[in-house]
């Protein structure tokens, strides 16, 4: 019943209000004629009674409680929808058999389809619960694209910028034109249920040829494919919006012109550059603005995450207003902003940004897919032309394959890292269409007679790609043994040596006089540190010519992880399996398990310790005593280390205890406290501290209560 109630509602609750037959109550559009279900009727009766009693003359008794449906229904409905969608997602996550075969996105579409069919039977007005493209483009899409841009692996992206650019511009253009003209040619041979002109079909083909970033994320993230392929498909999906939008608008305008002159084509080309580059510039400006705002937000720390969300969204809206590409704007903003913002906000703030972004994008995605399914039922009433649909699907696949092969042929001649046949296959197969195509199809002007046919074909193609390609891609990836993403913890080795190799290659390139990728990156880094960082990042994060903050952050992370692992270990003597990866090169893991050379009783995995071994019972007790005393001190020092390496945490502790807040006088510490804390940590930085040595020294140190440096406790246990 809840489902039914919920399903009678729509997201665009600002739709027209139809007059009530009774004329008494001015209820919003939800309660129109469609409410013929018995449940709805009874609810109505209750409503009327409640409202009646408010406005009528007859004296009523005092109400114990009343139903305030009118004031809350809009937002209540939206929340119910969201809740329903998220519960559905939760259920899908637990139904592992199902998710092994079908990607989540397809399950959500199926759910929407199911609900749609339910409503179909109840004779609800269909035009009401379709995905409103206005709502879609302004509210549902930005979080997803922002999330994508913010978490884009920048390194991999810039390494592949050439292929991404080629795929998104040339590839999309080729696809659009090829599909359009083939369909037009086909029309000459067989006639479809609706006829269309050249430009109408080109309008359709331009929106159907675009790979959809939402669908790509939804499917590819689940299968954990390696960064190289992912960044190529995803980069293409993201940036082909520039081409799609231009083509779509262009052909829309061409449609109404009597004749098309060369000047119109020139205007189209100019429009493309304007849209793409304009979007880029808006994104860059938004990123810089955010960085500067976060730089100066150290006294009002809560505002920093707010800026991180608000300014890119403003960028999106501004780009949309100026008819530039909003997707490119917000994606570029996210990508560029990340490195500067990360240096300006504390780790906790960055973490909350991460969670919130993921939450927003995840819920948007869920709602989009569900509404896609929902809208299918309503739009599938007319315009069902099997021939057209099949032709479209075939052409999409064929031309994508041809496009990818040709482009990769060209790219492989010019690139170091080549696209193997398997890579190319995955690239072809990953050309998923999604909600953006649907949104665009919906906003085709109604003057186009073939609109309903286009709409159904769009839905068909989306279903085909998401269901068929989405569900078969996982077994295919396994079959073809495509390289998966390494989900391993970063080791210090990789962080440092990675940087080291970059410098080395940059140097060699300089020696041979060639400006390759590494030396360009190096040049950019120098520019970054000299010019950009001082403007956009905070004082203490400024660096000379090498950004050590990444290495220091990696180190802090690893040390904290070690410390946590050591303290959360159960029995010290047992071999730990903390590390998920087997064959981990870190010898720390080897040290932690099987620490002593005492005999292990194989049958029950217990260790019989030599009495002199530090891990025997008696010594263990003593160790624990020392350890807990040590640990308290260490914890304080770990906090200090955190303060040194990340931005001054004293100022970033947002007070969540109201009592403390009352004592302090505000949520944030007073400015003087902040300055004092900063001075303290700076002083501690300068003073060199001695390194930790064996147990006796530790004990001595504990007893004399002098400051010792932080070393992972494993060190003293080991010795």
């Amino acid at each position: 019943l809840l489902l039914l109630l919920v399903s009678f509602t729509f997201i665009h609750c600002d739709s027209t209000r139809s007059p009530r037959p009774s004329g008494q109550i001015d209820t919003p559009a939800f309660f129109d004629r469609a409410f013929v279900m018995r449940f709805g009727r009874s609810v109505e009766r209750v409503m009327r009674k409640a409202d009646n009693s408010n406005g009528s003359e007859t004296p009523t008794r005092v109400h114990v409680a009343e139903l305030k449906w009118n004031s809350t229904q809009d937002i209540l409905i939206i929340s119910l929808w969201l809740l329903l969608a998220c519960i559905a997602k939760l259920i899908f996550n637990r139904a592992e058999n199902l998710t092994k075969i079908f990607p989540e996105s397809s399950l959500l579409i199926a759910l929407g389809l199911g609900i749609g069919m339910l409503l179909e039977n109840s004779r609800v007005d269909k035009s009401r619960f379709t995905l409103d493209s206005h709502m879609f483009f302004l509210y549902l899409l930005p979080p997803i694209i922002f999330d994508a841009g913010y978490f884009m692996p920048n390194r991999a992206f810039f390494k592949n910028w050439d292929s991404i650019l080629l795929f998104s511009v040339v590839g999309t253009l080729f696809n659009a034109l090829a599909i359009g003209f083939s369909l037009y040619g086909l029309q000459q041979l067989f006639s479809f249920t609706r006829s269309f002109t050249t430009f109408e079909i080109l309008l359709f083909s331009s929106l159907i040829s675009a790979v959809d970033p939402v669908a790509v994320i939804a499917v590819f993230e689940e299968i954990n494919i390696n960064d190289f392929i992912f960044v190529n498909v995803f980069g293409e999906a993201l940036f082909n919006d520039g081409v799609t939008v231009v083509l779509y608008e262009l052909f829309k305008q061409f449609m109404v012109l009597d004749e098309v002159l060369p000047i119109d084509f020139a205007a189209g080309t100019a429009a493309f550059f304007l849209v793409a580059i304009g979007g880029l510039i808006v994104g860059l400006l938004a990123a810089m603005f955010t960085a500067i705002l976060t730089k100066y937000s150290d006294h009002a720390v809560i505002l920093a995450p707010l800026f991180i969300f608000l300014v890119p969204y403003m960028g999106y809206l501004i780009a949309e207003t100026l008819s530039l590409s909003p997707i490119i704007a917000i994606a570029v903003c996210g990508m560029v902003m990340k490195q500067y913002v990360k240096g300006n906000v504390s780790a906790t703030a960055a973490n909350s940004v991460k969670y919130f972004t993921k939450m927003l994008s995840s819920s948007s995605e869920t709602v989009i897919f569900m509404f896609l399914g929902l809208s299918t039922v309503s739009t599938f009433q007319s315009g069902w032309d099997p021939l057209f649909i099949i032709a479209t699907i075939i052409f999409c696949i064929v031309f994508r394959t041809i496009g990818v092969i040709l482009q990769c042929l060209f790219l492989n001649k010019c690139r170091g890292k080549k696209f193997s046949m398997v890579d190319q296959f995955i690239l072809c197969y990953g050309g998923l269409r999604g909600a953006i195509a649907f949104g665009l199809a919906h906003s085709i002007p109604s003057s186009v007679s073939a609109k309903d046919m286009f709409l159904t074909s769009t839905i068909a193609v989306i279903f085909f790609t998401v269901f068929l390609q989405g569900s078969t891609i996982r077994p295919l990836v396994n079959l073809l043994k495509v390289e998966r993403k390494e989900i391993s913890e970063p080791t210090m080795t990789e962080t440092i040596y990675g940087k080291y190799l970059d410098y080395m290659i940059s140097g060699v390139e300089d020696i041979i006089g060639q400006k390759g990728h590494a030396s360009l990156v190096h040049d950019f880094e120098r520019l970054n540190h000299k010019v950009i960082n001082p403007i956009l990042m905070r004082e203490h994060a400024k660096t000379e010519h090498f950004d050590a903050t990444k290495i220091v952050r990696a180190y802090a992370k690893i040390i904290l992880r070690d410390a946590m692992e050591t303290t959360t270990e159960g029995t010290i003597g047992r071999r730990t399996t903390m590390r998920k990866e087997d064959g981990d090169t870190s010898s720390i893991a080897r040290k932690r398990g099987g620490r002593c050379s005492c005999e292990t009783d194989q049958s029950d995995d217990s260790v019989d310790h030599n009495p002199r071994c530090p891990l025997s019972e008696a010594n263990l007790e003593q160790l624990y005593a020392i350890f807990s005393k040590m640990f308290d001190e260490k914890l304080d020092q770990i906090k200090e280390l955190k303060k040194i390496e990340e931005s001054d945490d004293e100022s970033d502790e947002i007070c969540d205890d109201y009592m403390k807040q009352a004592r302090r006088g505000s949520i944030m510490p007073v400015a003087d406290d902040v300055a004092a804390a900063r001075r303290e940590t700076r002083l501690r930085q300068v003073r060199p501290s001695p390194l930790v040595h064996p147990i006796e020294e530790e004990r001595a140190r504990v007893n004399s209560r002098s400051k010792s440096t932080i070393n992972p406790p494993t060190k003293f246990i080991h010795q």
Partner: protein, 191 residues
């Protein structure tokens, strides 16, 4: 410039070098003209100062290490680098063609170059001190001496399998096995 340089480099030499290193003719000619432009004094071989004079190398924190590695790997004579040796070292950086096996250029050879840069005293091991020197030149001004020590210690610990406090070449290779060396250490030489 093109004409005069190819005159000084005889065809048989080009053939030989091409056979040894898998560079094609155009690449070798191009590298030769680069060699000549680096060899300002016209001696026919390069010295350390010639390479250090490359302006971008001066701002590269590992600049002098790279130059050292060139000379070490070149051969017996530590001070002079002739064209052949120059090209042989550069051959290490060719992209690995998985179909052909080239002894000059495979993963371990690439790693050897990287290792040479670290191993300042050429004893085949990277000690803690050597590592600290490298780290310092890369990072030095921006972190405290304390942090530098700790990071260096931690990195050595991670790679040091036999716990002798220094990293041998095998340990180095093992530590790098997760990194895509073929991709990271390859340069596309222009024709």
């Amino acid at each position: 410039m093109g004409n005069s340089s190819s005159l000084m480099l005889r065809d048989e030499e080009i053939e030989q070098i091409s056979g040894e290193t898998e560079f094609n003719r155009n690449q070798i000619v191009r590298l030769y003209s680069r060699f000549l432009s680096l060899d300002k004094k016209g001696q026919g071989f390069l010295e350390r100062e010639d390479l250090m004079n490359v302006p971008e190398l001066a701002v590269n924190p590992l600049g002098d290490r790279i130059v050292d590695a060139f000379f070490t790997l070149a051969g017996k004579d530590d001070k002079h680098l002739n064209f052949r040796q120059f090209v042989q070292v550069l051959a290490y950086f060719q992209p690995i063609d998985k179909t052909k096996r080239n002894e000059n250029n495979d993963r371990s050879k690439k790693l050897k170059f990287a290792f040479m840069m670290y191993d300042l005293n050429r004893n085949g091991y990277i000690t803690r001190e050597e590592f600290k020197v490298i780290l310092n030149s890369m990072v030095g001004a921006n972190i405290t001496a304390d942090q530098l020590d700790k990071i260096a210690d931690r990195t050595i610990e991670e790679a040091d399998a036999d716990q002798d406090g220094k990293i041998s070449f095998e340990e180095f290779c093992k530590a790098m096995e997760k990194t895509d060396i073929e991709d990271k250490m390859s340069i596309r030489f222009l024709n």
